[in-house]
């Protein structure tokens, strides 16, 4: 059992957890940040995606200890003062969900994609998103949401 300090959504959290416990488990079960989801435990479905220093990371597949020192952003950390990010707003506007269980991971993956590339082409989108599974099959709408959010990210969500 080790003491860790994790920087999550701009706040430091002291966590007492075994070094091998996954970041996902620590976020969900120690910090009660349940917006990040468990889907497969092997980095195959993307439901657990968070940002580490801005990059999309499968939180089920890295130990929490390896995330100490990084700036971690979860789905709970996107909305600022009641204002959704352009990506969140685009998912809402396109109705890009059914059951919504994959939505957090999808939004985090898109956020990372658009941070690095404001106008990704289709190949880049598929490359960045193919690790995220939606069993309800809302991929067409998620693609529309990505197109809607593209180019709006730096503008702080204006549309």
């Amino acid at each position: 059992m080790g003491e860790l300090v994790l920087n999550v959504n701009g706040k430091p959290y002291k966590v007492s957890a075994p070094a091998e416990e996954s970041l996902l488990s620590v976020l969900r079960n120690h910090l009660n940040l349940t917006g990040t989801k468990y889907g497969c435990g092997e980095g195959q479905c993307g439901a657990c995606t968070v940002l580490m220093d801005g990059g999309a990371t499968r939180s089920c597949s890295i130990p929490a200890a390896a995330a100490a020192g990084a700036k971690i952003t979860t789905i709970e950390g996107l909305e600022q003062n009641g204002k959704l990010t352009a990506v969140q707003q685009a998912f809402l506007d396109e109705g890009a969900f059914q059951c919504g269980y994959c939505t957090s991971g999808m939004i985090m993956s898109v956020t990372a994609l658009l941070r690095d590339n404001h106008a990704p082409n289709e190949e880049q989108i598929l490359g960045a998103m193919n690790g995220n599974v939606c069993r309800c099959g809302t991929y067409p709408r998620i693609l529309e949401a990505i197109k809607r959010a593209s180019g709006h990210v730096s503008g702080g969500g204006a549309r």
Partner: protein, 717 residues
């Protein structure tokens, strides 16, 4: 689920037969107590029509309800409306569409209606959410109540103003005189009141042509909570003092325990090992510790030899289990008709077991308070899970409450309450609330599967394309949509229940997918054999105007008339009907000339299910159905042998991803003159045969087994 249980569910889902009585409760509801609990106002209870009796209500908390309550609706002093139903939201968007229907009839803004769903202490008894039945059966009940509520509010206003109710207008949550001189909100009318109205009968509903809220693309209720991570799914529930459980699984299906050593786990700090008969589980302060404790348990299992994939379809054919079902036609007549036909085709089709693989696996949080068990869990049947818990712990209905937070879907795969029972057992032993979340491997292994099946079809047609005989036998996969919509003078159609090597159960669309795959592939083969265009051949043998309309609509939108297949590009079509929905699907596939890989490039699907309640939600369902169907059509299959699942992970069991998704175009036919049917399931059934027919059109190769291209999307050699 045992095979006979599956068949019972299929019958219920197909024919809506009685589910029998919910146990427990006999005494009368004190409806005024219920109203007091809700803080006064107006409570409208629905006395159902006989055909709704299987969904009648039973318990309310510690109160007992009479059998005649189908649903209820409450209007409070602020004019807020709460609607109580046992249906659950699993992504099919009924939280939104049912609220639309109520808002429409009650004449209130959509935003003032809140749905209370799937909480067994608060809602009327309900068989469950499956079979595309919410829209055709629950929505009319809720609408009837809303009409009755509106009429009562108008009467209340008429009494206050001493005027004729027929001169008053209800709109936007108010009752007003026709000149607008007097007006009261619903809240003002119900304030200080404690009224209970029971509604019998069948009040006139607003025709779809006059709908203002129903029939419009209202966005998903609480949609914002899903993009912010605020929505709590069953696996997200946290209770004070809650600890975490994990359950020891047998070494295979049907294994028996030979020896077990839990001493290492018992030595771990803050870990408790729970043994109860065959059940062994652990609880710990965090799931990581519970998992570590579980892994430390040394168990040996006796594993019997069991049927696997190899020889599966012979096994199904040779292991009947119960009486065959189907219309009792003379086999000789069909055989003679086929013998006399110009074009004859006899072949067999197969479908493999597949997994629902909902992205949220089974999960439950259980707690015990003063002998009462409360469980939050993801299930399509909250009352079914309550029954399982009552049986497992020998409790009466009023000592078990099941709550259903809108879950990470089910697709027919969450009818049962395994995780709920496990959490409850561990919580009882630990004396604290316990959360159990199944791992992906557990969900792939210990849930149940869509049945595998063997389908044999013999058919004959005249040279002019007239279908004359049709014989269809389905072994194990199920009877849903087994009847052909095509006209044929001689028919023999039977479903043959068989033993199943794997636990099997409901799946979105049930056997309609397998039966449509076989039938529509066979019809396509007959069309080619008769040298007819596949659309023209179908049209010639159809009389059902609704099915013909979707077929024509899909063909037109797709550009069927000018779509000429080449060896690298194939076009295929399929159509069908089930559960009141009509679907036609056209598919374009590309076949790589060197790798022989198949890719679905474009799908056009036309759909009609009566009056459309929410066109945006419906379009979403149709798009999703097509994407989900791609998995079963092309690559999803469970590999198993000797009682073990060999591909119980997403790295080994391929599901549709972004790159599998074709361009999808949905054509919705809105029949405002027809009652609304459900749309959650039947949108799947056309995809596999349309794709198979397109592959045939390109390559001349007829693929008769689902999945058709399990090996990396390559055409089988």
């Amino acid at each position: 689920m045992r095979p006979h249980e599956l068949r019972m569910l299929e019958r219920e889902e197909n024919y809506g037969s009685s589910a029998g009585d919910s146990p427990g409760s006999k005494s009368q509801l004190d409806r005024r107590d219920f109203l007091k609990f809700l803080g006064g106002g107006l409570l409208v209870c629905l006395t159902p029509l006989p055909s709704w009796s299987q969904e009648s209500g039973r318990t309310f908390g510690s109160h007992e309800l009479p059998t005649d309550i189908g649903a209820w609706l409450h209007i409070d002093a602020d004019g807020r409306v709460k609607v109580f139903t046992g249906k659950v939201e699993v992504g099919q968007n009924i939280r939104t569409s049912l609220a639309q229907a109520v808002a429409e009839e009650l004449r209130v803004p959509f935003e003032s209606v809140a749905m209370v769903m799937g909480d067994t202490d608060l809602v009327p008894w309900d068989m469950g959410t499956f079979g595309s039945r919410t829209t055709p059966t629950m929505a009319p009940q809720l609408r009837s109540m809303a009409v009755a509520g509106r009429e009562l509010l108008v009467e209340m206003a008429a009494q206050r103003w001493n005027t004729d109710p027929s001169k008053l207008i209800a709109a936007a949550g108010r009752v007003a005189t026709s000149d607008g001189a007097k007006s009261l909100t619903y809240g003002e009318l119900t304030r200080g009141e404690a009224l209970v109205k029971s509604v019998a009968g069948d009040p006139p509903l607003t025709p779809a042509t006059d709908w203002k809220i129903a029939g419009t693309p209202v966005p998903k209720a609480n949609g914002r909570d899903f993009v912010t991570g605020k929505h709590q799914f069953p696996s997200d529930i946290v209770r004070p003092e809650m600890i975490f459980g994990a359950v020891l699984r047998p070494g295979s299906f049907n294994a028996t325990l030979s020896s077990i050593d839990t001493s290492a786990a018992e030595r771990m700090p803050n870990v408790k090992v729970v043994h109860e008969g065959e059940f062994t589980g652990v609880v710990a302060d965090d799931p990581f510790a519970a998992e570590r404790a579980l892994k430390s348990i040394k168990a040996k299992w006796n594993v019997p030899d069991q049927q696997g994939n190899l020889g599966l379809f012979e096994y199904l054919k040779n292991n009947p289990d119960g009486k065959s079902e189907g219309p009792d036609h003379a086999t000789d007549a069909v055989a003679q008709a086929i013998a006399g036909a110009d074009v004859r085709l006899e072949t067999q089709y197969t479908v493999e077991y597949i997994a629902h693989a909902p992205l949220e696996p089974r999960a439950a949080v259980a707690e015990w308070n003063n002998g009462k068990l409360t469980v939050w869990t993801g299930t399509q049947r909250p009352f079914g899970v309550r029954d399982e818990l009552m049986q497992a712990f020998q409790l009466p209905a009023d000592k078990v409450r099941v709550l259903h937070p809108d879950m990470g879907s089910g697709y027919g795969g969450k009818h049962t309450g395994e995780a709920a029972i496990e959490a409850a057992r561990l919580s009882k032993a630990a004396g604290k609330p316990v959360k159990v979340v199944w791992t992906r491997e557990e969900e792939f292994t210990w849930a149940y599967f869509r049945p595998a099946g063997l389908i044999e079809i013999k058919a004959g047609a005249h040279r002019d394309g007239t279908l004359v005989a049709w014989e269809h036998h389905n072994y194990n996969s199920g009877p849903a949509a087994i009847g052909t919509p095509y006209e044929a003078a001689s028919k023999l159609i039977q479903y043959h229940p068989t033993k199943s090597p794997l636990r099997q159960g409901s799946y979105r669309g049930l056997a309609a997918t397998a039966n449509h795959f076989a039938r529509e592939s066979h019809m396509d083969a007959l069309a080619h054999a008769a040298q007819m265009d596949p659309v023209a051949f179908r049209m010639k043998n159809l009389s059902n105007a609704r099915l013909k309309a979707v077929l024509q609509a899909a063909a037109d939108k797709f550009g069927w008339a000018t779509a000429k297949s080449t060896p690298e590009r194939g076009y295929g079509v399929a159509c069908g009907t089930d559960k009141g929905g009509y679907v036609a699907t056209c598919a374009e596939v590309a076949v790589d000339p060197t790798t022989k890989q198949v890719r679905i490039r474009r799908v056009v699907e036309a759909w009609e299910c009566g009056a459309i309640v929410n066109p945006d939600g419906l379009r979403n369902q149709m798009q999703g159905a097509i994407v989900q169907a791609i998995g079963g059509a092309l690559f999803e299959r469970i590999l198993f042998g000797n009682g073990r699942i060999q591909n119980p992970l997403f790295s080994k069991y391929r599901v549709p991803r972004f790159t599998d998704t074709p361009q999808i175009e949905i054509v919705l036919l809105d029949r405002k003159d027809l009652p609304s049917a459900g749309a959650g399931e039947t949108g799947l059934v056309g995809l596999a045969p349309a794709v198979g027919n397109a592959i045939f059109a390109a390559t001349g190769k007829r693929l008769r087994s689902m999945p058709m291209t399990p090996d990396d999307n390559k055409l089988p050699t």
